[in-house]
Symmetry: C2
Subunit: 307 residues, 2 copies
């Protein structure tokens, strides 16, 4: 079985993972926006720690209406654009297409399922340091693993084929048996560090070196763990220590929200903060410090000027 | 009865109130630090919305060891310096001296009473916009009322005389029957606005215009009201609405902590945040959002360079 792939959003994630899939011989179609003309003419350049490569010629498109129907649709846009998916996706979907949301946050699959109740929907998280560093140019600095899980209408054979395609493309691809657990686990890290690096205008290492800020991270991680459990997702308190140790051993790092903020792009406040806060509240738990960070981020976003 | 006054700290508060008392004919002794030589030679200049004046000649001192014993000791330093009081005050105290802490925060009188268990101690709050705008120069922009209450060893006659001296000096001076209530009421305003204008690097009007930040202010004010009640201080929830209306009608304002931050001075985090948080915790109530702001302020303070 050979799968065709649509990459919706050719940025730090879509450019890297789509590039890897194309490089290893898969049939990959890239949706581009501002870089379309440049990439059509010059190809997509990926500067990776494991070796640079260029995809040229490339199947590049300006609109999904020009794209073929694909077996796998990998959504790599920011969640701030997800309201566009209901119009963008239909032209590239056939009945058996699998939609994968490679995004951070919570309730994204639930929201998409309202529009696409009959399609297989997966959620996926990228553990990677990469960014768009120029026109048609993606730079990959570290890591790269994907953790994915099925939200609705599992198709085991296709999911396994997707995993094989990624693995062959030098992208470790894990299938999580419990997507909700995987999403909450990622939030344990994302919720404190994404917002606090913006609100305190700093990096992860400076946070970890401050006794006060480190304790705030711990408080927020504990709130996320408690929220997960309130939502019937079994997550151990010890996972907080794992995340602290992981961060202590990381090189100083600006999370994706800090990069968005620094580059005057919309921040993913709703997906990473509002949705988990609201879901936990519906289950009777109030993440107060997480909610305060959300309130501060909304204020900060209202008071900056966007691209 | 004529009272002698010692002004401990001749800054935005001490310079203004001490200046007013001296102008109306009281016997006032000013402790100065960096401006001592200049003020000794040129006097103390007060630029007030109600008319400018200069105190020259002036009773100026570099150290309390050179000052006479005074009937009233008005402490106008920042609370970050309060650890110095146990050595600074004894030379100017006689047995019947009244010590007034004209400062923001909580538990200040309790801390001082450990060192001076037999003296009359009062707490006072200034409702004023003033700042030190030059060498020996204080500018008074608006308001000016003082609200004071007795913490221990009430001396009714002297307290009334102090009130009369201030009133004659054109400083409205109210005597609060319940100092703890007055302190907590001031905290309802001080806790959200002092810290948030620093953490969000903004002014009160911008906070009030943002739905998210305004709600955060309300959440924090409610926490302070709940904390007061946990500490057996009866404070109504409706006081929150009063403070919001007051702030909506204020001109854009930078609270004292924001001025300290902007001028790279130590912030009064312990007096305004840690002490109320800890006191409430001892009474079984956890101000979570207030605590988070405290954690952020400690981080911010650790990462700025001071004068």
């Amino acid at each position: 079985m050979t799968l065709s792939y649509a990459i919706i959003g050719t940025g730090a994630l879509g450019g890297y993972y789509g590039g890897r899939l194309a490089k290893s011989g898969n049939n990959v179609h890239f949706l581009l926006h501002s870089d379309y003309e440049y990439v059509k003419a010059n190809g997509l350049k990926v500067n990776s720690v494991t070796g640079d490569f260029v995809i040229n010629p490339i199947n590049a498109y300006k609109s999904t209406s020009e794209m073929p129907k694909c077996d796998v649709v990998l959504v790599c846009m920011k969640t701030t654009q997800n309201h566009l998916l209901k119009d963008m996706l239909p032209p590239i979907l056939h009945d058996n297409s699998v939609i994968i949301l490679l995004q951070n946050g919570l309730c994204l699959e639930e929201e998409l399922a309202v529009q696409f109740p009959n399609h297989t929907i997966m959620g996926a998280m990228a553990f990677i340091c990469s960014s768009k560093t120029g026109k048609g140019e993606i730079s990959h600095f570290d890591y790269g693993r994907i953790n994915a899980g099925v939200f609705q209408h599992d198709k085991e054979e296709i999911v396994l084929q997707i995993k094989n395609d990624f693995d062959k493309a030098e992208v470790p691809f894990d299938i999580a048996p419990d997507l909700a657990l995987a999403r909450w686990k990622k939030l344990v890290w994302n919720i404190p560090y994404n917002g606090l690096t913006v609100a305190l205008n700093t990096t992860t290492d400076k946070i970890m070196k401050s006794a006060a800020a480190r304790q705030l991270v711990i408080d927020m991680m504990n709130e996320v763990v408690d929220a997960a459990n309130a939502c019937n997702v079994k997550l151990e308190r010890s996972f907080v220590d794992e995340m602290l140790t992981l961060t202590d051993n990381m090189t100083p790092y600006s999370p994706s929200m800090k990069l968005d903020f620094d580059n005057r792009r919309k921040m993913e406040i709703r997906a990473i903060y509002s949705n988990p806060i609201d879901k936990a509240k519906r289950h009777g738990y109030h993440m107060k410090k997480v909610e305060m960070l959300q309130q501060q981020l909304f204020f900060i976003e209202e008071n900056i000027i966007f691209c």
